[in-house]
Assembly symmetry: C3
């Protein structure tokens, strides 16, 4: 029995805090806060308040009687009862305890137990964040107000025809559960890791997507001004060539053309890896589609069942993205990694994220934010491109 | 979109440790330990040992074969097995592991595995606290023995007629659950916050108590030697006047006449906010009543149902004391509060509690403790007083 | 009411870290790591990977297609996904994420996404521990490789007849649950505490083992070169004498002849207290028996039922080893103990364990490890010996 490589005496592992921490004041958390971030579906903003967590902050989302969505700090600025139990009215949300009323941007507009219902209402403001609704999602900007960018435009979602619509898919990333109990970054960097498609989604678990993805491709990555792009070229069985392009954009946009290959040409969707807190991640996708048609297929497991139909043992036998990424632990331990040739895309995503976080920490504006509507167009290149070239 | 009052960059919140901590050695914990405190119902003291938590200490309550209640530190002073598994005998409780026998005040009276069944029994004492039973409750004194006051008398509970009795109600405070997962102080100070009755219990959730309490009153507070008293005067629909008086006494007595107004005149009940630990609170009420008659009504929710019949969504729509107080968090965050005119009673309760804790920390005796039976009478003024004055 | 011995103001309790900590680098943990330790049943090593915890380390156990058991650190040395989701093949286990393949001793033998399937495979080694299977158990050695002893022989298990077999019993120690939520040492030292048999297993809960054990014995202990031995002599009702001998061996072997007295003479079994982590313990026994015959009886509770058939109240009324040992807390608090005459065996076990841990900390080899097969025989003396002497 040889003595090499025993588990005895191995060093205490560690992770790269700057990549994974999302709370206020952390390098990554401050970078993420410089962008509009989706945190809920629009249909979750109703007159029944909803407590949501985003970037390690608890907040209350509601929609007032006039249809305006509001996102407030939960603890009423008077005596601290959560607005989760608040009563939503036409003009805002009223705390259940003493009835202070706040509008969707936190302005206090009534204090019924105070003399004259509040003589200095202007001195009270419930902490708030701005919201924008787009494509079925509610976005917020949680950064410093003086650095707030305009809400971006996405070229693949512009000029919708009358028969087209944008819809939200929130079970896209993990093939089953909407929320994964692991850090967002290990989920995000998976997008620039095209090799796992052949192993995890084919060799290990049988084909979970389109069978053509089983072909071994030529893979390449290159840096773009605001992200990383990967191209995977496969010769198809009919002699044609599939050029599959995927993208990530700083900080947490991921653009993955549907792996079931039901949509060819430029992609019809983009996604956001949503950091709920340091150990919880949700992924929202917005998909452009024709009204009345299905959005897109999902991964299949084992004999074609959905993720939820598998037993614990079957999840071990047919793992997917959820198992592989959650299986890296609540936060993966970077000190134990041995990155190899096939991990070049992962390294590029990390390097760029760290560099942009440093720009923010130094007082600058990160890549991809725009302060006027004209500059705010994001141009997408990702897609499944099939050509006749051999 | 304006830039003011964003949730971004708000300071890290904090709470007033001296108000909320109840463990040994904390200012508030030591003040609470200078008084007899109820911690269980008398019918919970049986020959089956019961583990209870009080003031952040775990203890075992039992009743020996002679009917005496005992309250001991759980870990047997021999080898540390909990007396929760002890066997109760006529003379005390016997540890299950090696059979050491302790009486209700912790004296070791048998060590069956030792020579001569223990040659130095007097050297062993299981840590203990004294108990007194009153009104269906078991009280203990957990402070320094040399400062132990006599057990108080309460004038509203004296001279019971033959057809009268004292009964315990332990679901009084929260309108449903007996135990609330929050600090005791935010529960206690609610007693001096009469304004929430109009908002929480009427405007927000519909009338949860007597409809007359929906009237807007004139509210006043004043300091008493050992507490704070609030008077709320309402003109009733029949032209008469309701003067409702509520009290708190240092450190954790609360005297709230029944809000269902089923008892007029001086109150028939008083309560204790029982600090189980820093984040758990139980409230016991003792009620004087005629035998055979019901004790008093409870709060109604929504369409008159009990708390336990409501769904999560209905608890959001019809919140009560439980939601408002637990909704302040496990420990409310005082640094974020904005106390206003209507919170004067709350401020008075806090100020007095802090002052009394300082007296104890400086080596003195706090207000309201008596060392002889004559001085130990507590006189109650709280009540629902209806008069003909306009 | 007297003032002595109140629970007020008692010192903050503490435990002896060196006795209880089992993690890497702790004195006791390093001593335990110098011996082969059982951690699973052989039938738990299959082609479906199984995550096990041992000595506060998480590991993955599997059996490859050639029947070899392997024990690896769970996080793949490439990108950290747990091998719990690995695919077991003839040659080893393949990580689900990117397909790196490791044999049972951690050697990397394939990297399918790397050029030439890995040009420097010899540079990669998944951290591993060696395993040996014996008596239906899987053992591992988790210490420094250069100090690895040969796997020991146990004289009571040698020279099996054709009609004999070794079987595993894993519910032996606690009379019910296989795993107990408490530190291993308080379970282990119980073996040298024969007095509790009369109290716990007889006087308190009624006879849980053979009724003859109800007799009060003469008890003695003596140190052996590698452990502690206890002899309990009882005069039986038929005039004969029962000499019951129990042993512990450094660090965590316990040899307890069956207390149901179904086996007389030298014992047919031995056990290991398995430290899963600081607050979790499992006990494995290996029993030598004739094929086709039952292994041995288990403890009876109340009216002869098994542990699992009792309610919470009945567990209070009929406690057994599980209640007494778990009832000492997750880790017993040594600072509060008052060891007495009857605890001499417990003291001896602790003293010897500490002394051996010091030897290891000073760079030596502890007692009972052998580096060649000849020296590796453990001779057992424990048994239930009945003689005619009066």
């Amino acid at each position: 029995m040889d003595d090499e490589g025993r588990a005895y005496g191995r060093p205490v592992p560690d992770f790269d805090h700057d990549l994974v921490a999302v709370g206020p004041g952390t390098p990554g958390g401050e970078l993420l806060r410089r962008y509009w971030q989706p945190f809920a579906r629009s249909d979750e903003a109703t007159t029944l308040p909803r407590t949501v967590r985003m970037l390690d902050e608890d907040l209350v989302l509601f929609r007032d009687g006039q249809g305006r969505a509001g996102l407030l700090y939960p603890r009423c600025c008077h005596r601290g009862t959560t607005l989760h139990y608040g009563k939503v009215e036409d003009a805002g949300i009223r705390c259940c305890y003493h009835g202070w009323l706040f509008d969707t941007v936190g302005r206090c507009i009534d204090q019924p137990c105070e003399p004259d219902r509040g003589r200095h209402l202007e001195r009270y403001r419930q902490p708030w964040y701005p919201v924008v609704e787009f494509g079925g999602l509610v976005f917020t900007y949680m950064g410093p107000p003086e650095r707030q960018p305009v809400f971006p435009r996405y070229d693949i979602f512009e000029d919708l025809g009358d028969d087209e619509e944008l819809v939200v898919i929130d079970h896209f990333a993990f093939g089953g559960p909407v929320v994964a109990p692991c850090n967002w970054f290990q989920t995000h960097e998976n997008t620039m890791d095209p090799y796992h498609v052949f192993i995890l989604h084919n060799a290990i678990s049988g084909p979970q997507f389109h069978p053509d993805l089983r072909q071994w491709p030529t893979v390449d990555w290159h840096q773009t001004p605001d992200g990383v792009m990967s191209t995977q070229v496969r010769r198809l069985s009919d002699g044609r060539t599939l050029r599959r392009v995927t993208e990530v954009r700083v900080p947490n946009v991921r653009i993955v053309p549907t792996p079931t290959l039901t949509v060819l040409g430029r992609t019809n969707n983009m996604s956001w890896a949503v950091p709920v807190d340091d150990v919880t991640t949700k992924v929202y996708a917005v998909v452009r589609k024709r009204r009345g048609e299905p959005a897109q297929g999902t991964a299949a497991y084992g004999d074609g069942r959905t993720w939820f139909e598998l037993s614990d043992e079957e999840h071990q036998r047919y793992p997917g993205d959820y198992e592989a990424q959650v299986g890296q632990g609540p936060v993966t331990l970077h000190s134990e990694e041995r990155l190899a040739t096939s991990d070049r895309g992962v390294s590029m995503v990390r390097r760029q994220f760290r560099a942009q976080a440093e720009i923010v920490a130094a007082g600058g504006d990160p890549v991809g934010v725009a302060f006027n509507r004209t500059d705010a167009l994001m141009t997408v290149q990702a897609g499944n491109y099939v050509t006749d070239e051999a």
